[in-house]
């Protein structure tokens, strides 16, 4: 636990020192929100959640790529791969929650007649899914540019695809549309349930990808054996 905590602390320190990136992360969802504020209320809320998801996925992608240089050394220094990815996830989740809080306050002030608890739930789930999504991309695509392009495609599809179509359910932030509809249009609980199940399945799948990819990349090779010193 303490090793995971140290990794999380150092990852937070690293992120906190990227002030320019933090500023962009903070402003990015606002642009999404304002771009749809004059249209239907639900659209601006869905877009801001998507903006948070995109911003956090990008942050996780870059954090995962930057960690590649130092993780083999940390593995040799006594860390297990689970210490490393769980610590980094904890840091990213913390940043995501801090990033989302002002937008929740904004929606509380700016929007009326919506289910605020469901909005908080979307933001929580978006942050929860976005961090392992970015880390999974960084694990699968070691070059940041390739990861960034895939991220762009996924979020672009998320905006363009018909949410009612079954293919759109393969996208990681589909749940935000479902729970968003429940929150804004006061639909029945089916939307909430479907959204929740989708988010939990996505989260579990992405965590599994991160765990397997990290464990494989940082595995102890079979040719190396550590023997207790005589």
């Amino acid at each position: 636990m303490s090793k995971t905590f140290v990794v999380a602390e150092m990852a937070l320190r690293e992120i906190a020192r990227r002030r320019g990136v933090l500023a962009i992360l903070l402003i990015f969802p606002l642009a999404f929100y304002l771009s749809r504020r004059d249209s239907h209320a639900g659209q601006s809320i869905r877009f801001v959640c998507l903006g948070i998801g995109w911003a956090m996925s990008t942050a996780a992608l870059f954090a995962g790529s930057a960690a590649r240089a130092v993780e083999p050394r940390l593995r040799l220094s006594g860390y297990r791969s689970s210490h490393l990815y769980l610590g980094r996830l904890a840091a990213l989740w913390t940043v995501g929650l801090l990033l989302s809080a002002p937008y929740y306050v904004l929606i509380r002030i700016d929007q009326e007649h919506i289910r605020y608890g469901a909005i908080a739930l979307i933001m929580l789930l978006t942050v929860a899914v976005a961090a392992p999504f970015g880390l999974a991309l960084s694990a699968a695509l070691p070059r940041e540019l390739e990861g960034m392009l895939v991220l762009l495609i996924v979020v672009g599809l998320q905006m363009m695809m018909d949410p009612a179509g079954s293919a759109s359910r393969l996208l990681p932030f589909w749940f935000s549309r479902e729970i968003g509809t429940y929150a804004v249009d006061h639909t029945d609980g089916g939307y909430l349930t479907r959204g929740l199940i989708h988010a939990v399945v996505c989260l579990a799948a992405l965590l599994a990808v991160v765990a397997v990819a990290s464990g494989y990349r940082l595995r102890q090779r079979s040719h190396l054996r550590f023997v207790a010193r005589r």
Binding site: M10, A67, V70, H223, L224
Partner: protein, 271 residues
């Protein structure tokens, strides 16, 4: 140049060259007396302190004592073969390094030195062969190995926590290791702002943190100036005297560096 400035620099260089404290004191006293009596400019009388210290060190260096046979084998590398595509980079390479021994891995560019060390560290898989490490492993990569946005003390904490060290212990041990390389890591400079040589010093200190039994150092002195290079070999000798097994990948093997084993990976046709 002022006498005391020059004498201070000379004292530092004599220490770097490993001149015994008493001998260095005598040399400094004699040199100071000469300068005061003659009133000469030290640069004109003795030249740069680095060069004078090197001359003194050479003249007083005793024959290296024959060390007792090494301790137990801590690193065993047996029959390593590695291919990249059709090209065989390493063929049936073996190496054994005992406690208190320094092995140098030399060879031309592209001869597989870093690959060999990566295999020893378990970061690269060979096609054949095995590596046994008796105890724990410290690794200093040729590049990378540090985090751009963390300061040196945070690196010490991060690596130290993996080794089971307390925060205070990791920080103090890291700072002491840095001081041995004539570097003060306090001040909160992020790794991305360190010079190449200083970053390698950080890398080297991290490799030794937690007292590993086997140290694998991949050209760790890149970017070092001459003084830091001497400090580095002093540090290697201290590790060796503490019973570590050390493997250094190097281009620059000086006969005085005092390695015990040389593994030349240059392909036979090119040697």
């Amino acid at each position: 140049m002022r006498h005391d400035t020059w004498l201070d620099a000379l004292a530092g260089e004599l220490r770097r060259h490993g001149v015994a404290e008493q001998t260095a004191g005598n040399v400094l006293a004699e040199t100071a007396a000469h300068l005061w009596e003659s009133g000469d400019d030290p640069l004109r009388a003795f030249g740069p302190p680095q060069a004078y210290a090197a001359t003194v060190a050479e003249s007083v260096r005793p024959e290296p004592p024959r060390r007792a046979p090494g301790g137990p084998v801590l690193l065993e590398v047996v029959g390593i073969t590695k291919r990249y595509g059709r090209r065989t980079v390493l063929r049936e390479v073996s190496l054994a390094v005992r406690a208190g021994e320094v092995a140098a891995v030399v060879g031309a560019n592209g001869s597989g030195k870093s690959t060999f060390l990566g295999i020893c560290a378990g970061l690269v898989s060979p096609d054949r062969g095995e590596v046994r490490v008796h105890g724990s492993l410290g690794y200093c990569p040729q590049g990378g190995g540090t985090s751009d946005f963390l300061v040196p003390d945070e690196h010490f904490l991060l690596v130290g926590a993996g080794r089971g060290m307390s925060r205070a212990d990791a920080r103090d041990t890291g700072r002491a290791g840095a001081a041995a390389l004539d570097w003060d890591p306090r001040g909160g400079t992020q790794a991305r702002h360190l010079s190449g040589g200083t970053r390698q010093k950080l890398n080297l200190v991290l490799a030794g943190l937690g007292d590993p039994d086997v140290l694998l150092l991949d050209e760790p002195y890149q970017g070092f100036d001459q003084g830091s290079y001497l400090d580095f070999w002093q540090q290697v000798r201290r590790w060796r005297d503490a019973g570590k097994a050390i493997v250094v990948v190097t281009h620059l093997l000086n006969t005085r560096d005092g390695v015990d084993t040389v593994l030349d990976l240059t392909p036979r046709g090119r040697a």
